[in-house]
């Protein structure tokens, strides 16, 4: 009998070019290399310095997202870049892609957007592939049953030049989530809850496979939200085994195999599941019934509490420092905390279903006068589809800003900033000190919760808001 394998084992084994030994890591083949403007210029420079060319430009796809403005061009036709350096980064990627024949989803291209939003919507992200990008949230693509992880700029150079990486095999961690989700509870609440349970280093050294009835019932967008934040638990990658939900998504994408080739591919993809007797290095079980709308109170994503809970007493000096930074008092209910900014977007929650959630809450309501709310679609496609449904009109009518696609306030390097001291409720993935701008304070939440907070002008429970509407 062959040894039972986990999904991760299968993906790993299929990509080993040279097996690992005590002396050297494995040489692992990379099927798809995604590139953006911030972490690639140094890698292209390195190639040039060594007189090298990309080995597989056909397996390399580039997009512009981090440094790009989310405001349209001004009267002079120029985009409002945050700095000349940002514009130079964009120019550098254009030049590098043109020189090496790499497909670039440039500004003005209907396919452009956040790298982790566009590859799945084009069908570039497929089950069974290895996918890397100089970006930690590459874990997102694991939602399709691909082994996907973030790499540094030196490694971007390695993959450009050789299509391979030197890697030691990580350990495996199964997180099984079972049970139905309650009203107002989304995938974001699930993953914040999971990180709250296992900690921000709970997945370090591991690839997480998310399993269980809750995960099986999730849409692809929800699965992407969960895998996106696997890195916030320290994990190397997140995975969900592909199933009919995955294949339905891919069937509607231009870059997936088409027609007969698609059916054939599905036959192979169906084998991408952990064998029933496969052994994981670690296992964790989560009861989804216990999950309520969840936010963070601190300066890392593991500081998760339900919206109806109180800010906990700090257990060490770091937590005390975090609470002081956040301006939150131990013992105070998190609900009711005044909010200055609400940001909806990012590769975690900038997809169509998230914008539909926002529209559902904002329809017929108004953003609180204290609040500045930005809604930033994750890609041009998301923007188009949302506008076709009238979501932009609902967002604008509610008093929020409807922006051009990009990373925006998630990383705050394009000029979209939370001002020092302001408190933001964000659908992004990191609440680190200063992540959304120097001195900015961030509470992470779902799109539903973020929209409810925007209306209330304070941290609010979307379940109460929606119950009140039903009663009215």
């Amino acid at each position: 009998m062959p040894t039972p394998k986990t999904l991760f084992d299968k993906l790993w084994d299929a990509h080993v070019v040279v097996p690992e030994t005590a002396e050297a890591p494995a040489v692992l083949y990379i099927d798809l290399h995604l590139v953006h403007e911030v972490t690639s210029p140094q890698a292209f420079t390195e190639l040039q310095a060594r007189g090298l060319k990309p080995r597989r430009p056909d397996r390399t796809k580039a997009t512009l997202d981090h440094s790009t403005p989310t405001l349209p061009a001004g009267a002079d036709g120029r985009l409002p870049y945050a700095s000349t350096q940002s514009e130079a980064q964009v120019e550098a990627l254009r030049r590098n892609c043109a020189e090496h024949g790499i497909e670039l989803f440039d500004l003005g291209d209907a396919r452009r957007g956040i790298v982790h939003v566009v590859a799945p919507e084009l069908g570039l992200t497929q089950p069974g592939l290895t996918i890397v990008c100089g970006d930690s949230h590459t874990s997102t693509h694991g939602a399709f049953g691909a082994l996907a992880f973030g790499i540094g700029s030196s490694e971007v150079g390695h993959v450009l030049a050789t299509q391979c990486l030197l890697q030691r095999k990580p350990k495996s961690l199964a997180i099984t989530i079972d049970g139905p989700l309650g009203p107002g509870v989304s995938a974001k609440d699930v993953v914040l809850h999971v990180i709250g349970q296992i900690g921000v280093n709970g997945g370090t050294g591991h690839v997480i496979e998310f399993r269980g009835s809750t995960v099986r019932a999730m849409s692809m967008e929800q699965r992407m939200t969960v895998c996106n934040m696997a890195i916030e638990a320290g994990a190397r990658a997140g995975l969900v085994a592909p199933d009919a939900t995955t294949f339905d998504w891919l069937a509607n994408t231009p870059r997936a195999p088409q027609d007969e080739a698609f059916d054939e591919a599905v036959g192979h993809w169906l084998e991408l599941a952990s064998d029933p007797d496969a052994v994981f290095d670690r296992e964790v079980h989560i009861d989804a019934r216990a999950i309520r709308p969840t936010l963070t109170w601190g300066t890392h994503p593991g500081t998760a509490i339900a919206v109806d809970q109180r800010v906990p007493a700090p257990t060490d000096s770091a937590e005390a420092k975090a609470q002081a930074y956040m301006g939150l008092a131990a013992g105070a209910p998190i609900a009711g905390t005044p909010v200055d900014v609400v940001f909806v977007g990012s590769c975690t929650n900038g997809r169509l279903s998230d914008l539909r959630d926002v529209a559902r809450v904002l329809d017929g309501r108004h953003v609180h006068p204290r609040v500045r709310m930005l809604v930033v679609p994750g890609s041009e496609q998301v923007k188009r589809e949302a506008e076709a449904e009238g979501i932009d009109a609902i967002v604008r009518a509610a008093g929020a800003e409807w922006r051009e696609p990009g990373c925006s306030m998630c990383i705050a390097m394009n000029g979209d900033l939370v001002a020092p001291g302001q408190l933001a409720v964000s659908t992004s993935n990191r609440n680190f000190e200063g992540r959304q701008g120097p001195g900015a304070r961030t509470l992470l939440a779902s799109a539903l919760t973020a929209a409810a907070c925007a209306v209330a002008g304070a941290v609010a429970d979307v379940r109460e808001l929606e119950a009140a509407t039903e009663a009215a």
Binding site: A24, V27, T39, A88, S154, A161, C164, L166, S317, E433
Partner: protein, 199 residues
Amino acid sequence: MSTAIRSIRSASMVLAQANIDTDRIIPARFLSTTTRTGLGKHAFADWRKKSDGSEDPDFVFNLPENVGRAILIAGRNFGCGSSREHAPWALTDAGLRAVISSQVADIFRANALKNGLVPVVLDEDVVQGLMQRPDDELEIDIAAGELRTPSGAVHVFPLDAFARTCLLEGVDELGYLLARDADITRYESSRTPEFRHGL
């Protein structure tokens, strides 16, 4: 090609906080660069400067006795967050050669090793002990995988055999991969159909 490192001898700087993320080490507004150099002055930018923009004299990097120190001792889970290699670029540009912590995040560790910044992972109680004596000259011996203190204590730290060779001999990973070209070509031509379709 990185240069060979056999050992590091230095007193330390201490950041006794867990979960120091890469946004802390180098905030995103400094990532709009297309080179690897010159990031040292921005390392821990938001901690080393006060809100009025002046240097905070109390921050460890700014203390006169810490000038030239090459070892940082930090709380658990150092380098979590983003994959930006700008983090080790900033730290090495600021003169650091090693980071001691009870846990170092995966991507940061890989990035650090590629830039000659040695992650020294030790038990939390050992790290706590070292934090109490930042002025001690520590010796990090790469070949032995040992950290030695002036009092004669020897702490063994894990170092992957390949990483050790790369540090000791200045082996360049890209050169190593390029030398596997025949294996890579063989792999590409032997792929099973499900991985062969275009993108």
